[in-house]
Amino acid sequence: MEEKLSKEEVLHVAHLARIKVSDEEIEKYRIQLKELLNEVDKINEVVGYDEEMMITPIKDEALLHSDEVEDQISFEEVRSNIPHTSGSFIEVPKVVQHE
């Protein structure tokens, strides 16, 4: 029988990813996500490796620069890509709820 995640497990990973899933999608992901997770579990077959960890492929010294405020992109420029604005504000659903 095909291995599947439970519905709850799919809902859990979908919540972690902040992606809503329909009932139909849940059924599909139960199989597909399980397949992917089985694949990544192959990492457990690897033994005898050196425990030194790679942080970045760059061997050279990191590039640093001083933390100074520079010319920035203006709100007017950025605004055109914002889905919902109100005056000079970005509009989002109400976060604070009244009792």
Partner: protein
Amino acid sequence: MSKYLDHSILEIHELLKSKQITPLTLVKEAFERIEEEASLNAFITLNKEAAIKEAKALENMEVDNVLFGIPIAVKDNITTKGLRTTCASKMLEQFVPVYDATVVEKLHDCHMIIIGKTNMDEFAMGSTSETSYFKAPHNPWDTERIAGGSSGGSAAAVAARLVPFALGSDTGGSIRQPSSYTGIVGMKPTYGRISRYGLIAFASSLDQIGPMSRNVYENALLLNILVGQDRHDLTSVAKDPEDFTRLLDNDVRGMKVAIPNYFVSDIVSDEIKEKIDEVVKFLKSQGVIVDYVDLPYLDKAVTLYQIIAMGEASSNLARFDGIRYGYAVEDPKDLEDLYCRSRQEGFGDEVKRRIMVGSYLLSGENAKVYYTKAQQIRDDICKSFEQCFKDYDLVIGPTTTTVAYHLNEGMDDPLKSFLDDVLVIPVNMAGLPGMNLPVGFSKEHMPIGLHIIGNYFEEAKMYQLARFLEKNLALDLNPKEGGK
């Protein structure tokens, strides 16, 4: 229709310099070719008006460098100010960047002309470009087949001779694999060679931009202008300026080349193995020393890639929240609803699967079990390559296990896209440079590519071997008449 774009870059340069043609001639020709080959679906957005305007503005300027006035296509995950950049996703269907990527500034600096933005897998996730929201590009050698991915549109555009150059990006083979499938030269330089500023991030420790071209010399010319440290990308590396064409005419006699046994194992189709074998025999006959070697963990690179790439993707793509840019649902009932539904509707299936698995792999204790362990084994892969490069100048093998297959063959298989890149992924793991060179054709006249891997920052040496083979093989790589 004029045929100037069939000429070499040096010939075009002479024509421009002697005023026999203008940049506008080239730009118009590029758009005519694109229109003629519209069914390839290589482009998502054309930059027609601005490109023509720019070409006209160049008419009275001095032709001061070899890339002056040359048309180029840019993969649609590299930001272009004022020109829509979609990442082939519904999420960014309406997104118009407010700044240029550093590589795009560099193209402007030498007055190359951006013709348009090329098709790709959504957010560069895939190996066929079929996950594109704008439908897949087709392979100019056989339009029933994939152009590969994720830089499939860039590969198709160059292979079909619509433009002489394109930029691609390579996280797990996305420049080299489509280059192999379409018979062009594609270079993924050393991680840190080229600024990633303005490349919409997929997996930050793997992503690298690179040049795609019709031949080796022109690839090196384009790389010349793309490299350099950039204060906007703290992983970019400072190196003295160098000319990547400088070794092209050098002899390869005495060069030492390694082939990892895994690269010619049963995972590779017979006809590709035979072609690589022919190349090896030829190299040996020319005084190149070729040895078969064992490199540990190569067979585990895909698993590591899945963990690292999906983990990093889940974190990079968290920025698409329906608030600051990108797709947003109307009338969300609360903030959570805005995030979750915008992401459900804005992302395609492949992207959602990878974000979900990536989020899971990084959550709580899993981060240690998966991500940390993957980075530890990744370090071992680097060390084994480092060891190998103590004895050898270059590592070679096939770029892909098969030639380009038919459209829709791998759809809905969540693993297929990773397995197509099994031979190219180890290079991203180690941050090494890797390139594809066309070396022949299958019985069905589909291109076969050689994968050349160099030590860190030794792209010039890779071009040297590549040019030597290219010169001797003398393949006709124009899909219209080539295939021999």
